[in-house]
């Protein structure tokens, strides 16, 4: 009912403003509050021309200031009132508006949602009663209306009553809560085990027993974060490689961390588990519907805590099996790539991608870092001097103790390692012309030795060709071993 009232309200408002067509207003409103972290609804319906607060995140800065106009402020306030009233309306309507907890797509998430709503409604009822009495006396028992104080100040009976009744209400709340909790702590065997490891600031997923494992990084481009480009609809909630899970199967998550405490949270599953370095935590879920489900790290884990989202791509068991096979094939192909002869251009292209995905969070896209914690790579000794190549490989592969520099040996493939090192040695005017191949990395990983490419090619390394970020010059020499 309230929903209709709101629709009416929006219609009238739209008619009055004479600009936005009513249906679109509704549509926009639904998008804004309807998307949540929950599903990947069609985003094409986003009306490019919509105005005001609703779409302001997509507009550029000067346009955003439009909310400062009186009309904008009015809009803000009305939205606020609308949301306030939304707080008092039944669950069904709230779910559409996403000012509320998601119902999610698992049995557990639904029972948590029901619990949440039950207790919320109990609170509202108590609130109405208590505040009702209070506002009644504020209105009626004021001195200005000639009220005379009645100096009663004690009643054991009343005190006993308002101790016992709340206690009973609490018992009523605790019973369903206990039931749900027991469900959550179910330890029966799962069909699929996923190990989740939190890193500063990404997640690693391992499909135990399947030999499939990968890292999942934020994919939102820095240009969007720093307001150079407009923001995608899934701004900050997009990763390069989502966790793919089957529906209808019991999945067990083994959650741990490799540095500080993180917390793996997907609201649609109502799974939130702290990832604690050194220890392993367990949670489980059984997804009912295919879809894209988004979440975020929920425990402060340092600088980029806000930039390590979680995306789960739930598929039917058949699609999941297909994906798993493809994934294994791709991994085999990736291994093959290691032995391939790479050109400078190929490595630079791949290196740029890898760098921006993995390294740029600390060392920045422009290679200037954030000294003193995250040193600059641009012009740094290690990245430009020939005799430092081994040290450069070592720091990327093995990390540096006592600093934020992690060991990337396990996180990146040989190809990616070679590409990113090559990129760092040739980007931002570091034009060394050095080309590091996946084979050299593999060799380094095995023996701890770096062997320069044969003299012919390394001697003739084309310093003149000046590779740049945008147009890496092609090294004509294939750096074979």
């Amino acid at each position: 009912m309230m929903q209709h009232a709101l629709a009416l309200f929006l219609l009238i408002k739209a008619a009055m403003s004479g600009k936005d067509r009513p249906p679109r207003m509704l549509q926009v409103a639904r998008f804004r509050y309807g998307s949540g972290c929950r599903t990947n609804r069609s985003l094409l319906s986003w009306p490019e021309s919509s105005r005001g607060l609703v779409s302001f995140a997509r507009l550029n800065f000067s346009k955003r200031l439009s909310f400062m106009t009186p009309k904008g402020i009015g809009k803000t306030f009305l939205w606020f009132l609308a949301s306030l009233s939304a707080f008092l309306i039944p669950a069904r309507v709230l779910a559409d508006w996403e000012v509320n907890m998601t119902e999610g797509v698992t049995a557990v998430s639904r029972s948590i949602y029901d619990l949440h709503m039950t207790i919320f409604i109990i609170c509202v009822v108590i609130g109405v009663l208590v505040f009702g009495v209070m506002f009644y006396s504020i209105l009626m028992h004021r001195k200005s209306r000639g009220a005379k104080p009645h100096p009663f100040h004690e009643s054991t009976l009343v005190e006993i009553l308002w101790t016992t009744i709340p206690f009973l209400i609490l018992v009523g709340m605790a019973i369903p809560a206990t039931k749900t909790l027991i469900d959550i702590y179910d330890t029966s065997e799962a069909e699929i085990d996923i190990k989740i490891t939190g890193y500063q600031w990404k997640w690693q997923y391992e499909y135990l027993g399947e030999e499939v494992s990968f890292f999942s990084n934020l994919q939102t481009a820095p240009e969007q974060i720093y307001n150079v480009r407009s923001k995608d609809p899934n701004y900050l909630l997009e990763v390069d490689e989502p966790l793919v899970l089957p529906t209808g199967k019991k999945i067990r998550f083994l959650v741990t961390a490799a540095d500080v405490i993180h917390s793996w949270w997907v609201p649609a599953f109502a799974v939130k588990r702290d990832a604690i370095p050194g220890f392993i935590n367990e949670a489980w879920t059984k997804i009912e519907r295919p879809g894209i489900y988004r979440g975020q790290c929920a425990e402060l884990c340092g600088k980029d805590h806000g930039f390590m989202p979680i995306v789960v791509d739930a598929r039917t068991p058949e699609d999941y099996a297909k994906w798993l096979d493809e994934k294994k094939e791709a991994a085999a192909k990736e291994r093959e790539l290691t032995t391939k002869d790479w050109t400078m251009a190929e490595l630079m292209e791949r290196g740029k991608k890898t760098y921006e995905r993995v390294c740029a969070a600390c060392h920045q896209v422009n290679g200037e870092g954030m000294p003193p914690i995250f040193p600059a790579l641009k012009g740094s000794k290690m990245a430009i001097e020939k005799d430092q190549i081994k040290a450069h490989i070592d720091i990327v592969v093995n990390g540096k103790k006592g600093t934020a520099m992690q060991a990337f040996a396990a996180q990146l493939s040989e190809v990616d390692l070679a590409a990113v090192i090559t990129y760092e040695r040739n980007a931002w005017g570091n034009n060394t012309g050095d080309l590091i191949t996946p084979k050299q990395i593999l060799e380094y990983k095995k023996t701890g030795e770096y062997k320069a490419a044969d003299t012919e090619s390394s001697d003739k390394s084309p310093v003149v060709s000046k590779p740049t970020v945008n147009e890496p010059a092609i090294n004509t020499h294939q750096a074979g071993l």
Binding site: E189, Q200, F279
Partner: protein
């Protein structure tokens, strides 16, 4: 209050001493929470922390319960600062309760320096922690590897016959930490 007869200064002094002792005691209690917590973890298996001492193998406990099989899963995590290769030879064994499960972990130090590592075990679900015994484990002490050195480290485990029936699968996780700066030692119990 009979104490009221005394001068307020003396009374105050007494209060200061009493409350000061309480404060000092609570400071001590903060530290006492460390062993209390450890005992609590041991009893409940909280955090899946296993017994840091070798399990005493004896004939009575060795009786094998062939009526059921338990899957034991092994996972290895490296702390972000740790650059060793570290993995189990097999990722899962199936054993009867009471039967010894054997496998190896492989470790290699790819760096150019001597390093000391410490593997921290953790069992999930933690209700099973106290039912997973380690007869032999590389986690009882630190492991030292010279530059480039590799090592095969045996692990022998027994699942207790008293493991609750509803648990059919356990995960034994090891997280490898770089403890070079702390030196070689055995894990405090």
């Amino acid at each position: 209050m009979s104490e009221k007869d005394e001068a307020p200064v003396d009374l105050s002094r007494r209060t200061v001493i009493k409350t000061g002792l309480v404060a000092g005691g609570m400071f001590g209690f903060g530290f006492a929470m460390v062993p209390i917590y450890n005992v609590f973890c041991k009893v409940t298996g909280l955090n899946g922390k296993t017994d840091p001492n070798p399990y005493q193998y004896s004939a009575e406990t060795a009786e094998v319960d062939t009526s059921r099989k338990i899957k034991v899963q092994f996972v290895a995590t490296k702390n972000a600062e740790m650059s060793w290769d570290f993995k189990p030879s097999i990722t899962e064994v199936e054993v009867h309760p009471g039967q010894v499960g054997e496998l190896e972990f492989f470790a290699r130090n790819p760096t150019g320096e001597r390093m000391i590592g410490q593997a921290i075990p953790s069992v999930s679900p933690f209700q099973a922690t106290n039912y997973l015994h380690k007869v032999e484990c590389f986690c009882f002490t630190t492991q030292t590897l010279e530059a480039g050195e590799e090592k095969i480290m045996p692990l022998r485990i027994i699942v207790d016959q008293a493991l609750p029936r509803h648990i059919t699968k356990l995960t034994l996780s090891y997280t490898l930490f770089d403890v070079t700066t702390m030196g070689e030692r055995t894990l405090p119990s």
